[in-house]
Amino acid sequence: MSTGGDFLFIVSSMFALGGAVGTVLAKSPLRAAMSLLLTIISLAGIFLTLHAHLLAAIQLIVYAGAVVVLFVFVIMLLGPESTTPAGEFRGLMTRTASAAIAAIVTGGMAFSLVRTSMPYVNIHQCPEGAECGQFGGVVGLGSELYSNSVVPFELISVLLTVAIVGSIAIARGRTQAEAKEVRERRAARAAGDADQAAREAKLTAEVSAHGGH
C-alpha cells in the first residue's frame, strides 16, 4: 500500500475514533450528532483507502446527507427536552460493568483480529480498460448490483417503502377527533367493567346468603 494510503488511513482512523468517542460521551445530542458526522466522513476516507470509491460517496450522501440530517431535525424538533438532565449516565455499577464488557469485547476482538493478514492484491496492475480496474467504481459495483444482486436490491426498495410508511404511522400521532373517539371508547369499556363487577358482587352476595340457611 502506498505511503499516502497509509497516511490517509491513520488520519481517518484517528478522526473516526475521536468522533465515535465524542458521539458516545457527548452530553448534548446535537454534539453527539456532529461527532457522528465526523466519524462518518472519516469512514468515507477509510473506504477510499480500501478502493471503494462509490461506497465512500454513498456513505457521504446517505449518512452525512440524510441520516445525520434526520437526527438533527429530530433534535431540533424536540428542542431542549432532547437533552436528558444531569446524572444522565447510569449508576456507577451499571456504567462500570457495561464499560468493562464493551472494553473486554472490543479489546479481545481487536487483539485477535489485528494479526489477520492476507496477501495484498495490487489492483492497479490490471491492464488498461479491463474490468478488474473498475473495482469499487461506479461501473464495477453498479454492474454487480444490477446483475447478480438485483433481487436483494429490489427488496431493499420494498424495505425502504415499508420503513417510510411505518415511520409515518408511528410518528403521526392522532388528530383531535381521533383522540376524542378513543377517550369515549375507553370510558364506555370502563363503565361496562364496573357493571360486570357489580353484577358479580350481587351474585356472590346471593350465593353466600343461601349458604347461610
Binding site: 451499571t94 457495561s98 464488557i101 464493551a102 469485547v105 476482538m109 485477535s112 494479526r115 489477520t116 492476507m118
Partner: protein
C-alpha cells in the same frame, strides 16, 4: 393324517382349551347364560382331558416302540434368549408330555374335570358363577403350563399362574374381609418360596448354562463343584440349588416353615380346596423335585434336610389335625401332613413313591374335600362345618357316607386301599434311606416320625368320620333361624358372621353331579393303588411280571425314563420291606382302633374347653403367633423405620435441600430477566463475543490410528485453516504451512517411542483396553484375568505384574499361569513392544507409545497447537522358533 403330528398339536391344545375357556368366560361370562358358562368352563376342561387321554395312550404306544425315555414334545415358539457371557441361552416355550408330566396331566385334567362337574351343582346359586369358572379354567391352564413346560422359566410362568389363581380363589368371596386376608396371606407366603425358586433357577443356569430340564439333569453329575457367592463358598452347587428350590416347594407345597397359608386357604369354595389346595397345585413342589431328581440326588445334605422337614411337617400337621373341629380345617391339616409324607419320600430318594402318593392322594383327598363340601352344602353350613353340630349323617346322606368312608380308609392306609400302597412305598423309602445316607439313624428317624404321623392320620380321619356320620344329628334342634338361609345366593356368608347358627335340620341329598363325582372318586380311592402291586406281591411271596413291569411295579417302570430313583442294594433289602408294611399297617390299625373306641364305642365329643397340650395343638403350635411376633412385627418395625427415614431424611432434608437448590438456581437465572433493555443488550454482546472468539480461533482435533508401526493422524478442517506438522514431536516443524495437510502418516521407529503400554485383547467383558505404563508397577487383578488364573491355588495368590525397566518391560508372573512365545513363562520375563503374554484367560500385548504434534493457523492469524499420543504395536524385536510355530498358518505362510 400323521398320528404323531396330531399328538404334538394336541399337547398345545390341552393348555389352550382351558385358557380360551378362561378368556371367554372372563370377558363374556357375566352377560352370558349360566348354561353357556357351564358349557365353556366344563367343556374346555373336558376337551383337555380327552386330549390328555389321547396323548397318554399315544405315549404308551411310543414307549412300547421306542423305550422308556421317550416324550412327546411340541416347540411352540422362541420366547427370548438370555446371554451369559458369550453363551446364548434360548428360552423356548416348549411343551413336553413324558411319563412324569403325563401322569400329572392325567391327574390334573381328570380330577380337574370331576371337580368342574361337581362345581356345576355346588356353585349353582352363587352370583359369581362365571367368575368362578373363569378362575378355575385359568388355574387349569396355568397348572398345565407348569407341568408341560420343558424349561424352568416356562414352568415358572405356570408356577406363578397357579399362585395367582390360588389367591383369586381363596379370596373368591372377597366381601368377607377375613377371606380376602387369607388370600393375601397365601400369596405373600408363596412369594417367599417363589424367590427361592428364582434363585435356584439362577444357580442352575450359572452352573449348567441352560434352563432346560433335560440339560440340567444331564449336567447334574457335574454339580458337585462348589458354588461361590462373590468369593464366599456357599457349598456344593447341587446343595445350594436344591435347597433354594426346596424353599420354593415349602411355599407352594405348604411345608415347614411356610405351611401356615394352606389351612387359611380353606376360605375358598370347597371345590377350590379340593382341586388346588389338595389334589393339584400343592403337589407341584413334589413335581418340581421329581422333575429335577438327578440334581437333588447329587446332594445328600439337601436330601436329608428335605426328608426331615417333610417328616416333621407330616407329624406337626397331623398333631394339629387331632384336635380341630372344623371339617375342612381337619382336611387342610391332613393335606399338609400328606404333603409332608410326599417330601419325606422325595428326601429319601424315593421320588417315584412321592409322585405315587401325589397320584393316590389326589383321588382320596379330592373325594374327602368334595364329601365335606357336599355335607356343608347339604346342611347349609357356610365357610366350614363344625363337627360338633353334625353327626348321624350316615343315613341321611348315604352316598357321601360311603365315599367318605372309603377315602378315610385310603388315607389311613388300610390294606389294599390306594393309600396303603403309596404309604408303604414311602415308609420303605425311608428305611432304604438308611443305606442312602452315611448317617443311617436319619433314615430310622424319618421312618419313626412317619409311622407316628400315619397313626395320627388314621386317628383324626376316623375321629372326623365317626363324629360326622355316626351318632345323632346334633344340629337338628337348633334355632329355626337357619331356614332363612336356604334362599338362593345364601352361600355368600355375611361378613364377620360365620357359622354361628344351627344347620338345616333336614339335610338334602346331593343331586347327580355331586353324587356321581363322589362315586367316581371313591372308586378311584380304592383302586388307584393297583398300578403298583409290588408291595402286595412281595408280601405274598409272589413274583410275577405284570404288563412288562417287574414284579407288578408298573408305576416305577413307567417313570424310570424321567425320574431317578434310589435303588438299594445289599442283603436284607427284602426283609426291610416287611418292616415298612408292618409299620404302616400297625399305625393304621392303632389309629382307627383308638378312634373307634373313643368316638364310636364311648361316644366321646370334642372337648369344649381344651387344656394343656391339646390347647397348644388347638392353637396350631402357636406358629401363626410366632410368625406374627417375629416376622410380621419385625417387618412392621422396619416399615416404621423406613417411613421415618422417608419422612425426616428424604422429605425433611433431601427434598427441602433440592427444592432450595432449585429455587436458588431459579433466583439466579431470573436475575438477568429484569425487564431492563440495557442488560439484555449487554448479555447479547457477551454471547456475540463468545461466538466471535470461537470463529476467530482455530480448533485442532488431533486423532491417530495405528496399524503396527504406521500411524495415520487426522485433524479437523476449518475455513482458511493451514497446517504445520511436527510429526515426531521433536520441537521442529517437519512440514511447511499448507492448506491441504490435515492428514499425515508416519512410520515410527524405535527412537520415536516415548513410552510403553499394555494392550488387553478382550478382557472378561470382551472389550479391548490399553494401560499406559509409567514408573509404577501394574498389577493385574482378577477382574482383568478372570477367576482361575492361579497355577496352584494352594501355593499362593500373588497376582502377576508389569513394570518398566530402562527400555524393557519386566513381567513377573508370580503365582499365575502365564505363557510367553508359545511356552510357559519364566519367573521373570523381559519383554519388548510386540511381545504377547497370555496370563490366565487374558492376552496381554506390549505396545509402544508415540507422539505427534500439530499447529493449525486460520486466516485471522491465530495459531492453535495440539499434541496427541497413540499406542502402536511394532513387530516383535526377536522372533524365536517357538513363537513362529505358535502363530496361525496364514502368518506362517507369509514367512
Amino acid at each position: 393324517m400323521d398320528f404323531a403330528n396330531i399328538a404334538d398339536k394336541a399337547l398345545l391344545w390341552i393348555v389352550l382349551l382351558p385358557l380360551f375357556g378362561a378368556v371367554i368366560n372372563g370377558v363374556f361370562g357375566r352377560f352370558a347364560d349360566k348354561s353357556m358358562v357351564t358349557l365353556v368352563g366344563v367343556g374346555s376342561v373336558a376337551g383337555a382331558f380327552v386330549l390328555s387321554l389321547f396323548s397318554f395312550f399315544h405315549l404308551v404306544g411310543l414307549k412300547g416302540a421306542l423305550g422308556d425315555d421317550v416324550a412327546i414334545t411340541n416347540e411352540v415358539y422362541h420366547w427370548f434368549s438370555l446371554y451369559l457371557g458369550s453363551s446364548e441361552i434360548p428360552i423356548n416355550v416348549t411343551f413336553v408330555f413324558d411319563s412324569l408330566s403325563g401322569i400329572m396331566a392325567m391327574v390334573v385334567t381328570g380330577i380337574g374335570l370331576l371337580i368342574h362337574i361337581y362345581s356345576i351343582e355346588y356353585m349353582a346359586d352363587d352370583p359369581g358363577y362365571a367368575r368362578f369358572f373363569t378362575y378355575l379354567n385359568l388355574f387349569m391352564a396355568s397348572m398345565l403350563i407348569l407341568i408341560f413346560g420343558s424349561s424352568m422359566p416356562v414352568m415358572f410362568v405356570g408356577w406363578e399362574g397357579v399362585g395367582l389363581c390360588s389367591y383369586l380363589l381363596i379370596g373368591f368371596w372377597y366381601e368377607n374381609g377375613s377371606y380376602a386376608a387369607a388370600g393375601k396371606k397365601a400369596f405373600i407366603v408363596n412369594r417367599i418360596g417363589d424367590f427361592g425358586v428364582l434363585l435356584g433357577m439362577f444357580v442352575l443356569m450359572m452352573a449348567t448354562r441352560s434352563l432346560e430340564f433335560d440339560d440340567i439333569n444331564a449336567a447334574a453329575s457335574s454339580l458337585g463343584t462348589p458354588f461361590y457367592f462373590g468369593t464366599f463358598e456357599l457349598g456344593a452347587t447341587a446343595t445350594v440349588a436344591s435347597l433354594l428350590l426346596f424353599l420354593g416347594c415349602t411355599g407352594k407345597s405348604a411345608q415347614i416353615p411356610l405351611f401356615v397359608w394352606l389351612p387359611d386357604a380353606m376360605a375358598g369354595p370347597t371345590p377350590v380346596s379340593a382341586l388346588i389346595h389338595a389334589a393339584t397345585m400343592v403337589t407341584s413342589g413334589v413335581y418340581l423335585a421329581c422333575r429335577l431328581s438327578p440334581v437333588f440326588m447329587e446332594s445328600a445334605t439337601a436330601m436329608a434336610v428335605i426328608a426331615v422337614v417333610g417328616a416333621l411337617t407330616a407329624l406337626v400337621a397331623a398333631s394339629i389335625a387331632l384336635v380341630q373341629n372344623q371339617m375342612k380345617r381337619i382336611l387342610a391339616y391332613s393335606t399338609v401332613s400328606q404333603l409332608g409324607f410326599m417330601f419325606a419320600a422325595v428326601g429319601t430318594g424315593a421320588f417315584t413313591a412321592g409322585i405315587f402318593h401325589v397320584y393316590t392322594h389326589a383321588f382320596f383327598k379330592a373325594c374327602l374335600f368334595l364329601g365335606a363340601g357336599a355335607v356343608m352344602h347339604a346342611v347349609h353350613a357356610h365357610g366350614d362345618a363344625d363337627v360338633r353340630k353334625l353327626g348321624g349323617l350316615r343315613t341321611k346322606l348315604p352316598v357321601i357316607h360311603w365315599t367318605f368312608l372309603v377315602s378315610c380308609l385310603a388315607i389311613s392306609g388300610f390294606p389294599l386301599f390306594s393309600g396303603w400302597f403309596s404309604k408303604d412305598e414311602i415308609l420303605l423309602g425311608a428305611i432304604n434311606a438308611t443305606m442312602f445316607w452315611e448317617q443311617a439313624w436319619l433314615g430310622w428317624l424319618v421312618y419313626v416320625i412317619l409311622v407316628a404321623a400315619a397313626t395320627m392320620t388314621a386317628f383324626y380321619m376316623f375321629r372326623l368320620y365317626f363324629l360326622v356320620f355316626w351318632g345323632t344329628y346334633r344340629s337338628a334342634k337348633v334355632e329355626v333361624e337357619a331356614e332363612e338361609d336356604s334362599s338362593p345366593g345364601a352361600s355368600i356368608p355375611p361378613p364377620g358372621h360365620e357359622d354361628d347358627h344351627g344347620y338345616d335340620p333336614n339335610p338334602h341329598r346331593p343331586h347327580a353331579a355331586i353324587a356321581g363325582v363322589l362315586s367316581v372318586l371313591g372308586v378311584g380311592a380304592i383302586v388307584a393303588g393297583t398300578v403298583n402291586l409290588e408291595p402286595l406281591l412281595h408280601l405274598l411271596h409272589v413274583h410275577v411280571d405284570i404288563a412288562g413291569a417287574e414284579n407288578g411295579n408298573i408305576w416305577g417302570t413307567w417313570l424310570s425314563g424321567t425320574v431317578v430313583h434310589f435303588v438299594p442294594a445289599g442283603e436284607g433289602v427284602g426283609a426291610l420291606s416287611y418292616l415298612a408294611a408292618v409299620g404302616g399297617t400297625l399305625a393304621t390299625a392303632t389309629g382307627i382302633g383308638l378312634a373307634y373306641v373313643w368316638y364310636f364305642k364311648e361316644g366321646r365329643m370334642p372337648m369344649a374347653q381344651v387344656t394343656g397340650f391339646a390347647k397348644v395343638l388347638m392353637n396350631k403350635w402357636y406358629v401363626d403367633e410366632f410368625y406374627d411376633a417375629t416376622i410380621v412385627r419385625g417387618s412392621k418395625a422396619l416399615a416404621v423405620f423406613a417411613a421415618a427415614i422417608d419422612k425426616y431424611l428424604i422429605d425433611g432434608i433431601l427434598a427441602r435441600a433440592s427444592a432450595l437448590g432449585v429455587s436458588l438456581i431459579s433466583w439466579l437465572a431470573t436475575r438477568p430477566q429484569n425487564g431492563v433493555m440495557h442488560s439484555y443488550a449487554a448479555l447479547m454482546v457477551v454471547g456475540l463475543a463468545v461466538i466471535g472468539w470461537w470463529f476467530t480461533h482455530p480448533h485442532t482435533n488431533l486423532d491417530g490410528v495405528a496399524t503396527r508401526s504406521d500411524v495415520t493422524w487426522t485433524t479437523g478442517r476449518g475455513l482458511g485453516y493451514e497446517y504445520r506438522w511436527d510429526i515426531d514431536d521433536d520441537g521442529e516443524a517437519d512440514t511447511e504451512w499448507s492448506a491441504e495437510g490435515n492428514s499425515a502418516s508416519h512410520t515410527y521407529g524405535h527412537d520415536d517411542w516415548v513410552g510403553y503400554a499394555l494392550i488387553f485383547d478382550g478382557n472378561r467383558t470382551g472389550e479391548s483396553e490399553e494401560i499406559f505404563l509409567d514408573d509404577s508397577v501394574v498389577v493385574l487383578t482378577e477382574s482383568d484375568i478372570g477367576r482361575g488364573w492361579e497355577a496352584d491355588p494352594e501355593a499362593g495368590t500373588t497376582p502377576p505384574s508389569f513394570r518398566v525397566d530402562e527400555d524393557e518391560i519386566v513381567f513377573l508372573k508370580n503365582d499365575a499361569r502365564a505363557r510367553v512365545r508359545g511356552g510357559d513363562a519364566e519367573v521373570e520375563e523381559r519383554l519388548h513392544p510386540g511381545d504377547t503374554v497370555q496370563v490366565g484367560s487374558l492376552n496381554v500385548r506390549i505396545g509402544a507409545v508415540v507422539r505427534a504434534s500439530l499447529e493449525v493457523r486460520n486466516s485471522f492469524g491465530n495459531v492453535a497447537r495440539d499434541t496427541s499420543e497413540v499406542v502402536i504395536q511394532p513387530a516383535p524385536r526377536t522372533r524365536e522358533v517357538a513363537a513362529l510355530e505358535a502363530v496361525p498358518a496364514t502368518q506362517g505362510g507369509a514367512r
